[in-house]
């Protein structure tokens, strides 16, 4: 950006909050000039690593012969677990169950056992294939079907939520249904795969450039694995090519190995796994098997419900505890349960350890809630829309969640009503019924589903953030904060907040790479919290400087502090207006500190996991989607005909970016529930580990008609940054509308008299098999 003269007469700064702003890197994205870690200039002599992965699903390593690997061209070093100088563990929750490199025992097919370091990446990859590892194979558990939370191995203690006596309410209810729904996991498929480059420094220090959502954790894990204090490790990331939760903990392994190798050899080491290795060796969204029993009346009022959420966690805990907790926190979605019991079952399996993924268990929780709604609707012969509305949380009563938090900001009724109108649900329901009556091979389906998503890390201590704001003597601003940029536009939003605070044009604010050396002890950029937390921290930093400027100006110009006002690119001091740049220059000469470390912690929240009670969420975000699909009853193929979305992000900091988040999240959610299928063979090998076999949505999978709106009237009831709301995760669950529309279309085969019990992902195969089941039953 070339410097320009700030407009000193402007009535509004360029780039303030609540305005559409382009992503700060957009012009670099389109030219290829945006630098990702693999694009950085490599230090002279940089080496490359490749991980050797296990070829059995569960087994003891009897013998490992790496001589051919070591002798291969270009190989400089080969690391095994014995070469980890510190602790051979990268468990993010301290459960000590996730080795950097397998030590004697392998627990899933594709677990890293050794790491080859060679002059080129190609040489490292080729050398990896020369290892001879002998195993004593052990029995393995792949699937969670049939596992029992009371008897089978869990990776972490489970959670139970109880409000009222659900069993009694169900027993007393006029009608009862018991069932099970299964849905698949999901690979993140960030376009930029995992990557770390470690550069050794003096005094045993190391700097790691890592594509991570959680630089502080990478710093801790690298320090832990190296056996050095955190101060010896600096982690930096300018941007990621996508994260979606897949880079919350999953970068730790690559960072740790690159750092260990870099320090051993004294040269920079880069590890960038091939896409297939990335998808094989890193965790994904948890798939769940949800058992439910619901008691209800003839009108479709839910009276009591019980859930067990079984999750395939993989071989270690990773984040499975908080993920399965969050599933329970969303077993209600937007519905009030008079009595409820929900139990999580984070099962150990011999699969890759599942991890965070946009929604973090929330989507999985809601699948249970919406399945129960559909069951009740089919049982009572009513449109699911009616059952949904009937069971919504109230605004003043019927508003206590299964975790005993009162829903104080409920706006789902308005969202739902507006969308029902704008999407013409009733009219289209009639049209679809008429169409289906006259169409033998193609059936249409329609569904309108709500989303209520809790915002805050459920680990309360994570809800803090720091920022570093420098104002230089020319009035330009250097901004740094603990959040990471993965495409969501966080840096743009935080810069808007700082520009707004100082009332300077946004191009005066420089966004810089996230680094543990500038802002310490940060939380993951996760849980949709990036702008909420870091925006507030940056605002706080800017306000500290502003306070000093006001004190300085009041003193220098002898005016009351309330006579000082920050106007666009200038400051009114009494009766005169001083350009911001000039005031800064004056303040510097007067020895005013023009740098501040901002800090923020979310108020009001608390959570007692042992009791299953508290206020884990500061507020909720709401939205709804209405989807129409057409389904081929001969093949199960389908097309998304139309989707209407109304989603709220409070008073949006940047509606253009928020719209992009809503659209993108919806498509990603739709992909999870439709074409994205993880498939393991009988030997325990994941066979869908590349885009050739794992199918995320394409441009041609978009709804043919796609009307997406932000609720312009919404604002956060809580005192968040400029009354905005988080947007990263909540719209992901709007994708459920497509899944339920598919269910609706399938159900038309049997006149909506039988619930199809369509599981997810609803591939053409599952759709066709559900149709066949209905045809046989009708």
């Amino acid at each position: 950006m070339t410097a320009h003269q700030p407009d000193l007469k402007a009535t509004r700064i360029a780039g303030g909050v609540h305005t559409d702003q382009k992503h700060d890197s957009a012009h670099k994205h389109v030219t290829g000039e945006a630098i990702y870690i693999d694009d950085m200039p490599e230090p002279r002599g940089t080496l490359h690593g490749c991980l050797g992965l296990s070829t059995v699903t569960h087994g003891r390593i009897v013998n490992i012969d790496l001589s051919a690997v070591r002798a291969a061209p270009g190989v400089v070093d080969v690391l095994t677990s014995a070469d980890v100088p510190g602790v051979n563990d990268i468990s993010p929750t301290g459960r000590n169950d996730e080795p950097v490199l397998a030590d004697g025992l392998v627990q899933f097919y594709g677990q890293p056992i050794f790491c080859v370091i060679a002059e080129t990446r190609e040489q490292a990859r080729r050398a990896c294939k020369l290892a001879k590892v002998e195993y004593e194979e052990l029995p393995f558990v792949l699937d969670i079907a049939g596992l029992d939370v009371a008897k089978d191995r869990l990776v972490t203690p489970n959670l139970t939520l109880v409000r009222g006596d659900a069993a009694a309410a169900i027993a007393k209810a006029p009608r009862r249904i018991k069932g099970q729904v299964r849905h698949g996991g999901q690979d993140h498929f960030y376009l930029e795969g995992q990557i770390s480059m470690a550069v050794p420094g003096e005094d045993g220090d190391v700097t790691v450039y890592c594509s991570t959502q959680h630089p502080s954790e990478v710093q801790h894990m690298v320090g832990h694995a190296l056996g050095v204090p955190s101060h010896a490790v600096t982690v930096e990331v300018r941007r990621m090519g996508g994260g979606f939760g897949g880079k919350e903990t999953q970068g730790n392994q690559f960072a740790a190995l690159a750092a260990i190798a870099a320090k051993r050899i004294g040269r920079a080491v880069k590890i960038r796994p091939d896409r297939d290795d990335d998808m094989t060796a890193t965790g994904k969204r948890h798939d769940f098997l949800i058992d439910y029993e619901v008691g209800f009346d003839d009108e479709g009022n839910i009276l009591g419900v019980e859930y067990t959420y079984g999750a395939r966690c993989g071989f270690s805990s990773d984040l499975s505890g908080p993920v399965t907790d969050r599933a329970l926190f969303h077993c209600d979605n937007a519905y009030f349960y008079p009595a409820v019991k929900a139990v999580s079952a984070p099962f150990y399996t011999n699969t890759v350890s599942n991890t965070a993924f946009r929604g973090f268990g929330g989507p999985q929780g809601m699948i249970g809630a919406e399945r129960v709604i559909d069951e009740v609707a089919f049982a009572t012969g009513k449109d699911p829309l009616e059952i949904r509305r009937k069971n919504f949380y109230g605004t003043t009563d019927r508003n206590v969640t299964p975790y005993h938090q009162t829903v104080e900001d409920n706006i789902i009724h308005r969202i739902f009503d507006e969308l029902e109108q704008s999407a013409d649900y009733a009219g289209r329901r009639r049209e679809i019924n008429a169409f289906n009556n006259n169409s033998r091979f193609i059936k249409r389906g329609l569904a309108l589903t709500p989303v209520k998503f809790g915002i805050s890390f459920t680990a309360t201590h994570y809800n803090q953030a720091g920022a570093l704001v420098h104002v230089y003597t020319d009035g330009s601003v250097h901004l740094n904060h603990g959040g990471t940029e993965m495409g969501q536009g966080l840096n743009t939003k935080v810069a808007q907040v700082v520009a707004e605070e100082f009332q300077i044009d946004i191009d005066r604010v420089k966004i810089t790479a996230t680094t543990t050396g500038k802002v310490p002890n940060t939380s993951a950029t996760a849980a949709s919290s990036g702008a909420d937390l870091n925006g507030m921290a940056a605002q706080n930093g800017a306000r500290q400087i502003k306070t000093r400027l006001i004190e300085f100006a009041a003193d220098k110009y002898n005016v009351e502090k309330d006579q000082i006002e920050f106007l666009p690119n200038r400051v009114r001091v009494g009766n005169q207006e001083i350009p911001f740049t000039e005031l800064i220059a004056q303040a510097y000469l007067a020895r005013v500190q023009l740098s501040a470390a901002g800090f923020y912690k979310t108020p009001k929240i608390h959570w007692d996991r042992s009791k299953g009670q508290g206020r884990p969420f500061y507020y909720f975000a709401y939205g709804a989607a209405c989807a129409e699909v057409s389904v081929d009853v001969l093949t199960g193929e389908y097309m998304v005909e139309r989707v209407d979305i109304l989603h709220e992000t409070g008073r949006s900091l940047n509606p253009a970016l928020d719209l992009g988040q809503v659209e993108g999240a919806f498509i990603q959610g739709m992909g999870w529930l439709t074409t994205e299928e993880l498939w393991w063979d009988e030997k325990g090998r994941l066979r869908t580990h590349a885009p050739s076999t794992y199918k995320i949505p394409l441009a041609s999978d978009r709804p043919k008609i796609f009307n997406v709106k932000l609720a312009s009237w919404a604002e956060n009831a809580e005192n968040t940054v400029h009354k905005s709301k988080a947007v990263g995760e909540p719209p992901f669950m709007l994708g459920m509308a497509v899944y339920h529309a598919l269910t609706d279309a399938v159900a038309s085969v049997a006149d909506h008299k039988i619930h199809p019990q369509l599981d997810a992902p609803a591939t053409p195969e599952r759709v066709l098999m559900a149709i066949e089941k209905l045809k046989a039953a009708r």
Binding site: R125, R275, E637, G664, L698, D701
Partner: protein, 490 residues
């Protein structure tokens, strides 16, 4: 007839620079060359298998004297195959004055990027589209983007950008168009009629000058890896790290690229890409055109050849079943001797084809269905576009006075080779073409096919869908107005 002596370097244009290279390994990809050797890091690696499009670049080449630019996947395109081409990367788009190209500016203004990693690839795919169609329909945009994955935007903003490009500038002002004549001159000069031979041992490759030259090369090197579009062999290298030397690159041989129709038979040279075949096939055999639209992404269709799809013998290649149903034949050539066989006889067993050492597929001959006959092909995959088939059925039918007088049905994904449904055909031939006949014939599928379960579909689904495709085919021949298939059309 290689006029000149073999040449030991390849020559091509990279953006605005003339490149001559003799230190090229046959398995060196264009992407590695760009990123590692040239430090052009705007082009990204997302998957290294031609599915995600993050590595999309343009390759311009002379085709019948015209200069054509097409999007390709640099990750699976071998450097050695680029002789006499113009490689254009994302770095070439921005003006010397720093001004963004219309494609880039539209992507910025319509928020078409989020994380930005896929973006250079999208820009290049949209650039290729814009050059040939400045005002594309949504269907054309979607088709151009089938080979580009974006995980952030949900594509809506990218499609909005694509619709708006021409508002930012005219194709006639595009820099590539301005330098067109100079490029044609340079590429023409590079085509000196010489065979290229580079390297030795495990690093050897040959680029024959002509089809005749290719025949001689293969006769002398019967174990060579023949690479036309590299959409398959590319993965042998990037994923399996197989040694493929010696390699013969035939994608640039112009006399393997003929598309001609004689007496109702379309003959496609073995080097004809899907894209090059598209216009003629879509016009003459529309069902094949629709199928080609669902093979790979645009980049893969720009590289992959129908000859290669046949020659590699895959049981899930998409073109063999419909070509078998149409009664296509193959010309196989070894040296100067040629033989012609029915396409279905080419596929002997899994991994085994009727092709002798030193022999190659020279051309495929596709009869155009006559007026009044019925032909259809249906592909089923988990995702509609850019996916590998779980099952694919192709049907050719002649009905006379309500009776089936000729029927050929072939399936892919149902057996170890593309295969005729002979029992089903027998159950239909000579019968009345009606629902009762179809119903009665369905059980014959079990005699023809015992499909497998894999990551794409279960055996049960494949078997059921295969049967149902016959039901669909019948329904479509009845002329009913009710919808029979889902459609992307608005």
């Amino acid at each position: 007839m290689a006029k000149a002596l073999p040449r030991s370097e390849i020559r091509f244009l990279l953006n605005n620079e003339r490149v001559a290279l003799s230190d090229v390994s046959p398995d060196e990809t264009l992407l590695d060359y760009l990123r590692l050797r040239r430090n052009l890091r705007g082009t990204k690696e997302g998957c290294a298998e031609g599915d995600c499009g993050a590595c999309t670049v343009l390759v311009g080449r002379l085709l019948a004297g015209r200069l054509v630019y097409e999007s390709v996947n640099a990750c699976i395109r071998f450097l050695g195959s680029l002789d006499a081409t113009h490689v254009v990367t994302v770095e070439h788009l921005k003006g010397a004055d720093g001004k963004l190209h219309p494609v880039q500016q539209a992507m910025v203004d319509f928020h078409g990027s989020q994380c930005g990693f896929c973006t250079p690839g999208f820009v290049m795919s949209l650039y290729a589209l814009w050059m040939r169609e400045p005002n594309p329909s949504d269907a054309e945009i979607e088709k151009a983007l089938q080979g580009n994955l974006c995980r952030c935007t949900g594509y809506e903003a990218i499609v909005r950008s694509a619709r708006a490009i021409s508002g930012y500038g005219k194709v006639s002002n595009d820099p590539l168009l301005g330098e067109r004549n100079a490029v044609i001159g340079q590429l023409t000069a590079m085509r000196d009629g010489a065979r290229v031979e580079i390297g030795a041992g495990k690093h050897r490759f040959i680029v024959p000058a002509t089809a005749d030259d290719f025949a001689r090369v293969l006769e002398a090197e019967p174990n060579a890896t023949v690479v036309a579009g590299s959409t398959d062999v590319g993965l042998w290298v990037t994923k399996h790290m197989r040694d493929i030397s010696p390699v013969v690159f035939i994608g640039g041989i112009e006399d393997l690229k003929s598309v001609a129709e004689t007496d109702g038979v379309i003959t496609l040279g073995a080097g004809v890409t899907y894209t090059e075949a598209f216009d003629v096939l879509a016009n003459r055999i529309p069902a094949l055109g629709s199928l080609i639209d669902r093979i790979g992404g645009q980049q893969v269709r720009n590289m992959g050849t129908i000859g290669g799809n046949i020659a590699n013998g895959s049981p899930i290649g998409d073109t063999p079943p419909p070509l078998i149903a149409l009664g296509a034949t193959l010309t196989l050539r070894r040296g100067d001797s040629r033989r012609t066989i029915a396409l279905e006889d080419y596929f002997i067993a899994y991994g085994k084809q009727d092709r002798a050492p030193g022999e190659f597929v020279e051309a495929v001959h596709v009869p155009v269905p006559k007026e009044g006959t019925h032909f259809a092909v249906y592909k089923i995959s988990k995702r509609r576009d850019e996916d590998i088939t779980s099952t694919l059925g192709a049907f050719y039918l002649e009905v006379s006075n309500g009776t089936v007088t000729s029927i050929r049905i072939a399936y892919g994904g149902m057996a170890a080779t593309p295969k005729r449904a002979r029992s089903v055909e027998a159950a239909l031939l000579g019968k009345s073409w009606n629902e009762a006949t179809i119903e009665a014939a369905l059980d014959a599928f079990a005699a023809d096919f015992s499909p497998l379960t894999d990551m794409r579909a279960t055996a049960e689904y494949r078997a059921l869908a295969a049967r149902n495709l016959l039901v669909r085919f019948h329904a479509e021949t009845t002329g009913t107005k009710a919808p029979i298939q889902i459609s992307r059309a608005a």
